[in-house]
Each structure stands twice: as structure tokens, then as C-alpha cells.
Amino acid sequence: MPIDLSMPILVVDDYNTMIRIIRNLLRQLGFEDVDDASDGSAALSKMRGKRYGLVISDWNMEPMTGYELLKEVRGDPGLNKTPFIMVTAESKTENVIAAKKAGVNNYIVKPFNAQTLKSKIEAVFAE
């Protein structure tokens, strides 16, 4: 099934530079409707006001981490079907396993390249 390039995507990261990088990479992949949030609670608030086709989130943020956001999203009947990709520098096996257990769709280790982002988005929508 082809990916809907018009779907809104929410990028969650506490570093503006990272948001800008991901936004540019997404634009290169054809996605134009990209919003951002600086932590889990801000993201949750945006998600409750708008339906996103995909969430791309960092792990280590304050006050609410990406891991908490993932668990909140999966625990919310109105949001729990939203595809969720973790993009993070947390590269311990325990993190990946915990995220998978919490229901993440894919996991990208920073630093990453455009091809990795593209392939993970494709993998998520091929599920």
C-alpha cells in the first residue's frame, strides 16, 4: 500500500536542530505536513487536538520522556493505533526491548541517515 504523503506527522524532540533535520528529511521524502513538539506532554496535547498519521519521537526529554509518551499513546483508545517510531541516542538493548514491549513500531538509533528514516517509515506502513 502506498504511503499517504499528505498525512500529518508529529516530530517530538527537545532539540530544535534535530526537529529541523528530521523535518527536512521528511520533506525530501515528500511529507509536507509536519508538526513538532518539544517533549512528551506537549506532543500528547497536540495529538489530542489533531489526528496524526505518524509520530517520530526522541526518548530523552523533559518533563515527559518519549518512552512515557509511547506508553500514554498506547494506553489511550483514541490514539493507540497511531504508528510510532522512536529516534534516539539510547542504544542499549534494554531500551529497544522496553520500547518494543510498550508498542513502538520501529526504532532508529541516532545518528541516522535519510535512507534509514525512509526504510523505517516504509516498514511501519508495510505492517
Binding site: 536542530t17 529541523r20 533535520i21 527536512n24 525530501q28 526518548w59 530523552n60 520522556t65 518512552y67 512515557e68 541516542a89 539510547e90 542504544s91 542499549k92 538493548t93 534494554e94 531500551n95 529497544v96 526491548i97 522496553a98 518494543k100 520501529n106 526504532y107 532508529i108 538509533v109 541516532k110 541516522f112 534509514t116 516498514a123
Partner: protein, 212 residues
Amino acid sequence: MAARNTQDLDRIVGYLKEKRAEDVALSDVVALAELTAESLQTFFLTLDTTLYRELRAIATYINDMKVEIGALQANELKENRIPEAGQELGAIVKATEEATNAIMECAETVIGADANDPAGYKTLVEAQMMRVFEACSFQDITGQRIAKVVETLQQIEQRVSRFVEAVSAKDLAGFINEHERKRAERKNRFMLNGPAREGEGIAQAQVDQLFI
């Protein structure tokens, strides 16, 4: 000195045993008092010397500690070196952020430029590439700033190591305050390990294996 005390006590015990069955005369009481006083005098003499030696050792230790605490130069670290290192790190973050933004702006300008006019496009790309070169000059300055921070950390490490050795310091368990405890608890609870060092952590290919 201990042998002398034992001898005195033996003399008192012997005297009391000897006089046990007899009526005690005033002269005996006086003799016993003299013996006891003599014995206690020796005891107090011993005590004085021991106490003096211990007090002198404590005074020497306190004096040594004062020297070691002085050598730590804690006020200089607190008021100058650590804040300066913090400022250097802040400047590094700012410089890298500015450079990254400048480079991304160039990339965005080039990507968004109209390539239908080859000559104009070439001029624009060359100008943007010059800006990229300029932005990359941050590396030299941040390198120098990092060297200063590393030097400060080495100085702190040397001073603290010397102090730890001098006082044979043993770490207390737990946290120094509530804030530190909460940060550690949060780090542990949400697995906030941060970026892995080279050779540690798992690579993207290994992550992918967990999602098959």
C-alpha cells in the same frame, strides 16, 4: 610503666591479704592509702603521656587536613574554574548549534533554488558553499574551548585524588540531596542512559533484528 602498675597493685593485694584476719590499725589504713596513692600517681602519669600522645596525633592530623583542604583550593574551583568550564561548555553548545543552523540554511537554500538558470544556480551554490566553509570554522574554536574544559577537569581530578588519598576518604552511601535522588530515580526508571560510548550500545542492524 605497665609493669610498674602491676607491681603496685600486687603490693596492695598482698597487703590486704596479709592483714585480712587482723584488726585494722590507723597506721595500716595510712599505709594502704599511701600505697594506693603511689599506684594511682603512676597510673595518672601513664594516662597523661598516652593522652598527650593521642592529642598530639589528633592535632597533627587536623593540621595535615587543613593543609590538604587548602591544597584542594575548593573556593577557587567553586568560584572560578567550574563556572568558567560551564561557560566554555555553554559556548560550545551555542557555536555548534549556530554552525549547524547555518549549514542547514545553506542546504535548504540550495534545495529550494531554481535550477532552470544554470549560471544563477551555480553562483548561488558557490556562495552557499562558501557559507558552509565559514560555518565549519567553529570546529577550531570549540576545539580550543574543549581543551580548556579538559584541563580544568584534569586539575579537579588531581586535587580531589590527592585529597581522597590524604584523608583516606570513604564514600557515604546514598545521595547528597533530594534533587540528586530524584534525578537518579528518573534516570533509572525511564532508562535514560544517554548516547553510548564507542563500542558500547547496539548498532542499527542489531536493533532491526529485534523487530523482525
